[in-house]
C-alpha cells in the first residue's frame, strides 16, 4: 500500500519515543494541526513503528497502550483529523480503539489467528467521547450537517 496515494501527512511514533514516554515532537505537531484544523481535515495518519519483530499485536504491548492512552487524553480529536480513506485494517483509529479499550479475552493462536474480545462498554465510550471532540471542531468551523453525518458514518464503519 502506498500511503502517498492518499495525500496524507504521516506521523511516525517510534518505539524509542514510546519507551522513553516522549511526546515532544508528535504533540507539537498535533497542536499546530489543531490551530489550523481545516488544513489538516482528514489528512493525518499515524504509524507506530519499531514493533515489527515483536510477535505481539500492538494492543498486547502495555507500553504502547499507555503511550496511546496518554496521547489520546492529550489530543482526542482523531475523528476529525484522521484520514478515513485508508482501509480499516491500516487505519490508526483501529489501532487506537484496540489499544484503548480493555482486553476482555485473548484466545490461543490457531494457525496465526486469535480470537480477541474488547470491552463493549469501553468501545461505546470511546466512540461517543471522540464524536464529541470531532463535533466540537466541526461546529466551530461551521461544517454542514451533511458532512458531519457522512464522516460519522465512515468512522463507525472503521471502529465497529
Amino acid at each position: 500500500m502506498n500511503l502517498d496515494d492518499y495525500g496524507l501527512i504521516n506521523l511516525v511514533i517510534a518505539k524509542e519515543e514510546i519507551e522513553s514516554f516522549d511526546f515532544g515532537e508528535i504533540y507539537n505537531f498535533l497542536l499546530s494541526a489543531k490551530d489550523n484544523p481545516k488544513t489538516y481535515y482528514n489528512k493525518l495518519n499515524i504509524i507506530v513503528y519499531g514493533y515489527d519483530n515483536d510477535n505481539r499485536e500492538l494492543y498486547e504491548i502495555s507500553e504502547v497502550r499507555t503511550y496511546l492512552d496518554f496521547l489520546d487524553k492529550s489530543f482526542p480529536y482523531w475523528f476529525y483529523f484522521i484520514n478515513l480513506d485508508i482501509p480499516k485494517s491500516h487505519s490508526f483509529l483501529s489501532v487506537l480503539i484496540t489499544c484503548l479499550c480493555k482486553l476482555e479475552f485473548i484466545g490461543p493462536d490457531v494457525n496465526g489467528t486469535k480470537t480477541v474480545e474488547f470491552s463493549i462498554e469501553d468501545q461505546k465510550n470511546f466512540i461517543l467521547n471522540h464524536f464529541g471532540f470531532m463535533n466540537e471542531i466541526m461546529d466551530q468551523h461551521n461544517y454542514p450537517e451533511k458532512e458531519i453525518k457522512r464522516r460519522s458514518q465512515l468512522i463507525l464503519k472503521i471502529v465497529t
Partner: protein, 523 residues
C-alpha cells in the same frame, strides 16, 4: 558554564499520567480534584527524587547540589559574568530545590545508606533538576489553590504533556485575580531612597551585631573578614569559587589569614553551616513547617565523612594525609556566605529565624530586635510619613489608665485638610516570595494571628468611641474634630503583602504606597 537545566519532559509526562485520576478522561473539574492532582504529583516526584538520590553517595550529592546553588545564585541575582549563564526562570527552583537535596542528603549521610556509584551522572543531575522543578510547580499550585480556594473556584485542568508548564484553567475574572497575585509576589521592593526603613538598615544591623558579639563572639565586620579571607586566601589561589576542605585545616587557614581566634571561627561555623551534629538539629519531616533547620538558613555545609573521600575531593586531594585523617569537612562559597549574611540580618529582624528563637538564651535578644525594627523603625517611619503631610498622630494603648479592649492601635492620625481620621495598623510581615509564604501571610491574617479580625475590632472601637478619640485629639493637639469627620482604616506593611488583592474591606498598602496614596489624596 551553565547549571544543569535540561528538563526531561518524559519525567513530567509519567507523573501527569500516574497522578491523573483513572476515571477522568481529559478534563479535571472541581478545585478539590485539581488540588489532589497536584498533591499526588508532588508525592510521585518526591518518590522519584529519593530513588534518584539513593543511586549515588550522599556526600557527592551535597557537593553537586552546592555547586548548583552557587551557579543558580549568580543567575538569580543577575551578577554580570561571562562565565555563567542559565535560565532566570529556573533560578528560584534551582536555588530552593538544590538546598532541599542537601537537606535530604545530609540526613542520608548520617544513616545507614548504600549507593551504586559515587558521583551522579549528567543525566541524573538533569533528572533531579526536572524532579525539583516538578515538586516546586506542584507544591506552588497546590498551595495557591489551598490558600486562595474561595477565589479560584473555577480551577480546572486539561490533560496535556505541557500541564506543568502553565496555570490551571480559570474563569476570566479569576484569571485576572490570579495574575495580579503572581505579579505581586514577583515584585521586589526598591529600597532606593528608603534604605533606612529596610530590615537591614544601619540601626538594626547594629542590633544584630550586638547579638552576634554577645552570643556567638563574632561581629558582622569579622564575618566580612572571614569572607575576604576565603576570597583572597583560598579562592584566589585555588581558582575555585567553592572551597571543600577538612574542617580543622579550614579553621587553621582562616585563623592565619584573618588573625581571628579559632574559637571565633568555630563559633561562626556553628552559626552559618548546616551541620547534622548541631544540637539544634532535628530529623525532619519536610511536610511539617515546624521544622526550621533548613539549608535556607545556612551558608555552608559541615559534614562528617570518614571514607569515600572521592565523593567530595578530587583524586589527588582524596589521598592527602590531612584529608584521610579528617572526620569533618566543610563546603563553603564566599558568594553564598555574603548572601547568607544579608539574609541572616533580614530574617532575624523579620522574625523568620524561628530555629534560633528556640534557643533559650536567644529568645529575648531576638524578640528585642524584632520589636525594635517594628516600632522604632517601621511604625516610626509610617508616623513620620503622616506627620510629613501635617497629620496629627498618636499611638493609643490606654484610655484613662486602662488598656483599651480592642488592643493597641499603632497610629491614629487626623488631617484637617482631608477632614479624616486614619486608623493605621503597621505590620512588618515577612516578604512573600512564593505561594507557600503567601499562604503563611494569608493564614496569619485571617486564622492563626487573626490580624484581620483584630483590625476590624480596632476600627469598630474607634467608630464606637469617636467622642473619646475626639477628646484625645483635643487634649493632645488642641484640635476640634468636626462631627462629619471621615474614618479611614489602613493596614500598612513593609513589603508588598499581596493582601491588598485579597482583602477589600480596608486599604492595604506598603509604607511607600501609603505615602503615594496620601500625597494623591491631598492633591
Amino acid at each position: 558554564m551553565t547549571p544543569y537545566q535540561k528538563i526531561n519532559f518524559s519525567i513530567f509526562s509519567k507523573v501527569i499520567y500516574n497522578a491523573w485520576p483513572e476515571k477522568v478522561f481529559n478534563r479535571l473539574l472541581n478545585i478539590e480534584n485539581v488540588k489532589s492532582f497536584y498533591n499526588a504529583s508532588y508525592k510521585d516526584f518526591e518518590k522519584q527524587l529519593h530513588s534518584e538520590l539513593n543511586k549515588y553517595h550522599p556526600a557527592s550529592w551535597i557537593l553537586e547540589a552546592y555547586k548548583q546553588i552557587e551557579l543558580w545564585t549568580v543567575i538569580y541575582y543577575e551578577i554580570k559574568t561571562d562565565q555563567i549563564s542559565g535560565s532566570i526562570q529556573l533560578a528560584p527552583i534551582g536555588r530552593y530545590g538544590w538546598r532541599y537535596v542537601i537537606e535530604v542528603s545530609i540526613e542520608r549521610l548520617n544513616t545507614n545508606f548504600s549507593f551504586s556509584s559515587l558521583k551522579p551522572t549528567e543525566e541524573s543531575m538533569n533528572n533531579v533538576l526536572t524532579i525539583l522543578a516538578g515538586m516546586y510547580i506542584s507544591s506552588e499550585y497546590s498551595n495557591y489553590l489551598h490558600f486562595l480556594d474561595k477565589r479560584l473556584q473555577s480551577a480546572q485542568l486539561v490533560f496535556s504533556p505541557r500541564l506543568f508548564m502553565g496555570d490551571p484553567l480559570l474563569s476570566e475574572s479569576e484569571k485576572l485575580f490570579f495574575n495580579r497575585i503572581k505579579d505581586s509576589i514577583s515584585s521586589e521592593t526598591d529600597w532606593t531612597g528608603v534604605e533606612h526603613v529596610s530590615p537591614n538598615n544601619d540601626l538594626t544591623k547594629n542590633k544584630v551585631n550586638e547579638l552576634l558579639i554577645n552570643n556567638f563572639s563574632i561581629s558582622i565586620d569579622e564575618i566580612h573578614l572571614i569572607i575576604t579571607s576565603i576570597i583572597n586566601g583560598i579562592s584566589s589561589i585555588t581558582n575555585a569559587s567553592i572551597t571543600v576542605q577538612p574542617l580543622d585545616d579550614f579553621v587553621d587557614l582562616i585563623n592565619i589569614i584573618s588573625r581571628l581566634s579559632k574559637e571565633k571561627i568555630i563559633s561562626f561555623i556553628n552559626l552559618a553551616f548546616l551541620n547534622y551534629k548541631n544540637p539544634q538539629y532535628q530529623s525532619r519531616d519536610f511536610l511539617r513547617k515546624s521544622q526550621q533547620i533548613r539549608m535556607l538558613h545556612f551558608a555552608g555545609v559541615l559534614l562528617t565523612l570518614e571514607n569515600n573521600y572521592n565523593s567530595i575531593y578530587d583524586d589527588y586531594s582524596a589521598k592527602r594525609p590531612d584529608v584521610l585523617s579528617a572526620q569533618h569537612h566543610i563546603i563553603i562559597s564566599p558568594t553564598l556566605l555574603a548572601e547568607w549574611l544579608d539574609m541572616f540580618i533580614i530574617k532575624l529582624v523579620l522574625g523568620q529565624r524561628t530555629d534560633l528563637k528556640q534557643i533559650e538564651s536567644l529568645k529575648k535578644p531576638i524578640a528585642d530586635i524584632e520589636s525594635f525594627y517594628r516600632i522604632n523603625i517601621f511604625e516610626s517611619e509610617v508616623k513620620k510619613i503622616m506627620e510629613g503631610f501635617n497629620f496629627k498622630c498618636f499611638n493609643l494603648k490606654k484610655v484613662n489608665g486602662k488598656d483599651i479592649d480592642c488592643g493597641e492601635i499603632d497610629i491614629i492620625g487626623f488631617s484637617t485638610k482631608l477632614n479624616a481620621i486614619y486608623i493605621v495598623e503597621c505590620k512588618a510581615l515577612s516578604p512573600i516570595i512564593d505561594a507557600r509564604s503567601l499562604g503563611q501571610v494569608v493564614n496569619d491574617h485571617y486564622i492563626q494571628k487573626k490580624y484581620h479580625a483584630k483590625f476590624l475590632k480596632k476600627i469598630k472601637w474607634i467608630k464606637d468611641n469617636l467622642d473619646v478619640v475626639k477628646l484625645l485629639f483635643q487634649e493632645r493637639f488642641n484640635i476640634a474634630i468636626p462631627s462629619d469627620v471621615l474614618i479611614n482604616p489602613f493596614f500598612v506593611t513593609v513589603t508588598d503583602s499581596t493582601l491588598d488583592i485579597i482583602e477589600d474591606s480596608y486599604n492595604i498598602f506598603t509604607f511607600y504606597g501609603f505615602k503615594n496614596y496620601i500625597s494623591n489624596e491631598l492633591r
